[in-house]
């Protein structure tokens, strides 16, 4: 070994030691985060999905309402995928990780069946009185927004306006149909298609058959998430898919030739917030839910995301009328009992994988 090498070797060692110390210090400092579950008092742990939605709800539900100041609370976000929010809430049922979390109707039904979420206290969530029962599931879930899901189609390529779920199986659109994957909206979609074809929550034979005709028979493109749906429609790689109204409005505004039709048994997805039954801040969490249901934040959400508000006192501006359900589609939505659906969840997933995807 030469003198130069020896000198270099020493420098490297020092550099590596310094690097190791530099790497460990921040992590070890964070070890202070080891706290028993009971430690936090005024922190409100809020489980939600991220991205533009997080930016929006932070601004609208917290900053604009002044919630944190008003209640001397600090909201701490746990940004997750929506499926892992439910898994974490189920896993931590007895000692909840969250004070409140975002859930859809199916997720909330699962949590309720496992007795992991509490009934709302109407004396705290006073805005519940201004929300129609159609947006509520039992006493544990209320939708803050309703995402309408109709047949979004490219007006340049789809000349005949679609009228039913069966349009997705039309051979004219072979390879140009988008279908959400099961873990995203696929499971709900299966039951909407099933209802349209005469099935029930217990008997999904018609839905499986019709879905297979779309997915395998018509070479549907499996869409992983909303963002992917946007891109596929924008690039005209797909011409028709069951998709959200808000997305359609934004695509249209950016020059993509799309429109929407709400077919019989169309799907909608309600998004709301639920409160774990053994949460440490039950009252505060419900105060925040009450704030999300007030007319002003609901209008702001409509303006920002183009999702239908649920508080009947919201006055929808003329230029946002396209974001709410049109008159012709009233009473056309699929009526699905999600608690019953959950009873057959494993069977449905297995059949979807085998018979619809053919895997």
């Amino acid at each position: 070994m030469t003198g130069t090498q020896r000198s270099l070797s020493l420098t490297r060692r020092e550099a590596l030691q310094a690097g190791a110390v530099a790497a460990l210090v921040p992590a070890l400092l964070q070890l202070g985060a080891i706290t028993p579950a009971e430690a936090a008092e005024t922190q409100l742990v809020f489980g939600t999905v991220g991205g533009g939605w997080l930016d929006g709800i932070k601004k609208i539900f917290l900053e604009q309402t002044g919630f944190e100041k008003q209640h001397d609370a600090k909201v701490v976000w746990d940004v997750q995928a929506d499926t892992s929010l439910i898994t974490k809430a189920l896993s931590s049922c007895a000692r909840p990780v969250y004070d409140l979390l975002q859930a859809g109707v199916t997720g909330a039904a699962k949590l309720s069946a496992a007795k992991c979420i509490a009934a709302y206290d109407r004396s705290i969530i006073t805005n519940l009185a201004d929300v129609d029962d159609t947006y509520k599931s039992g006493d544990y879930f209320v939708a803050v927004i309703r995402l309408l899901n109709g047949l979004v189609y490219n007006t340049k390529h789809v000349k005949d306006k679609p009228t039913s779920w069966d349009d997705l199986a039309n051979p004219k659109y072979k390879g140009k149909v988008g279908i959400p994957v099961y873990s995203w909206v696929g499971s709900q979609l299966l039951h909407a298609i099933n209802k349209a074809h005469g099935g029930t929550e217990a008997n999904v034979d018609p839905g499986i058959k019709a879905s297979a005709a779309i997915v395998r028979g018509n070479d549907a493109v499996m869409v992983q998430h909303s963002n992917m749906g946007d891109q596929l429609l924008q690039r005209e790689e797909i011409w028709i898919m069951p998709f959200w109204t808000g997305r359609m409005i934004n695509l249209k505004a950016s020059g993509v030739p799309v429109d929407i039709y709400y077919q019989k048994d169309f799907l909608f997805a309600d998004v709301g917030y639920v409160v774990p039954s053994h949460g440490r801040n039950l009252q505060l969490a419900q105060k925040l839910i009450n704030a999300t249901l007030a007319p002003e934040p609901q209008l702001e959400i409509l303006k920002r995301f183009k999702y239908q508000p649920t508080n009947r006192k919201v006055v929808v501006p003329e230029d946002l009328k396209a974001a709410v359900l049109p008159e012709y589609a009233k009473n056309r939505a699929a009526k699905i009992d999600w608690k019953k659906v959950n009873e057959y969840a494993d069977r449905d997933l297995e059949r979807w994988n085998k018979e619809v995807l053919g895997s």
Binding site: S9, R12, A15, A20, A22, A23, L24, P26, A27, L28, Q30, L31, A33, I34, T35, P36, A37, Q43, V45, F46, V49, G50, G51, G52, W53, L54, D55, V76, W77, D78, V79, Q80, A81, D82, S84, T87, K88, S91, S92, A94, R95, V97, Y98, W184, H225, S226, N227, D230, Q231, Q234, S254, F305
Partner: protein, 258 residues
């Protein structure tokens, strides 16, 4: 002809591996708010947007980087001695230890994540950074230990014996004669541990706690709802961090050379 074909195949394989990364990098500088590719113009707007998002910056700087760095250091600190013990010494339970170290490779990581979450809840602990480091240790240890063992297999024990004959103690002989020979393997293990931890989503989905969301979880969650190209910008930063790390270590300690 054979060499040309070999080069063409290699280029095609590496091209296919690198192409998606290039797309992400280009999109992050593109002026389209909808991930359009190829972009019609260039901007730094998405990097500015990323920097303006407190949660996102924190997920990268305060969560993912410290976790990956701590995992790499601890994986080497524990994994290299384990590798030495397993490859240089015969002891009772050595086979069991080797099997235990490698067991996480057999368990789907998503299941490992759920199981560890259930364990934490049982122990009345909340998911968070220390547990994520521990979880990442379990999945990176097999790589560090096996790389260390492979490097040791190439190190001639006679070197250590010679050093001891010249007056070194056993630890001194290891540090002076063997460690320089396996240095590259140790660093490769550390880098691999860093990269695995930095990119993990399966464990982080369940073990990241309030306020400690890792950047892959944040990115995944954002993509599912309403993603903007700031996701591409932060992905470009991640690619740059890993590439920069490889480059700096390659230059300073000569990765790939044993």
């Amino acid at each position: 002809m054979t060499a040309a074909l070999y080069r063409a195949v290699l280029t095609a394989i590496y091209g296919a591996l690198i192409a998606p990364l290039l797309v992400v990098v280009i999109v992050s500088f593109g002026n389209s708010p909808t991930f359009a590719f190829p972009p019609s113009g260039f901007t730094l707007e998405w990097f500015r947007l990323f920097l303006s998002k407190e949660e996102m910056v924190s997920a990268l700087v305060n969560v993912s980087l410290p976790i990956a760095a701590a995992t790499a250091v601890l994986a080497v600190a524990i994994g290299v001695p384990t590798g030495i013990a397993l490859s240089r010494f015969r002891f009772r339970g050595g086979g069991v230890l080797f099997a235990l170290v490698n067991m996480p490779l057999l368990v789907p990581q998503i299941l490992l994540g759920v199981s560890l979450l259930l364990l934490l809840i049982m122990l009345n602990l909340r998911p968070g950074m220390p547990w994520l480091v521990l979880a990442h240790l379990t999945i990176t240890m097999p790589f560090v230990v096996n790389i260390a063992m492979a490097a040791l297999a190439k190190a001639d024990p006679a070197l250590e014996e010679a050093a001891m004959n010249l007056g070194c103690t056993r630890p001194g002989a290891f540090l002076r004669a063997t460690l320089p020979v396996i240095r590259s393997g140790v660093l490769n293990g550390a880098i691999l541990a860093f990269i695995i931890s930095f990119g993990d989503i399966n464990l982080a989905l369940f073990l990241s706690g309030p306020g400690v969301t890792t950047i892959p979880v944040y990115t995944f969650s954002s993509l599912m709802f309403q993603a903007q190209p700031d996701i591409a910008a932060v992905s470009t930063i991640q690619i740059a961090i890993v590439a920069g790390l490889l480059l700096v270590l390659g230059k300073t300690v000569g990765l790939g050379r044993s």
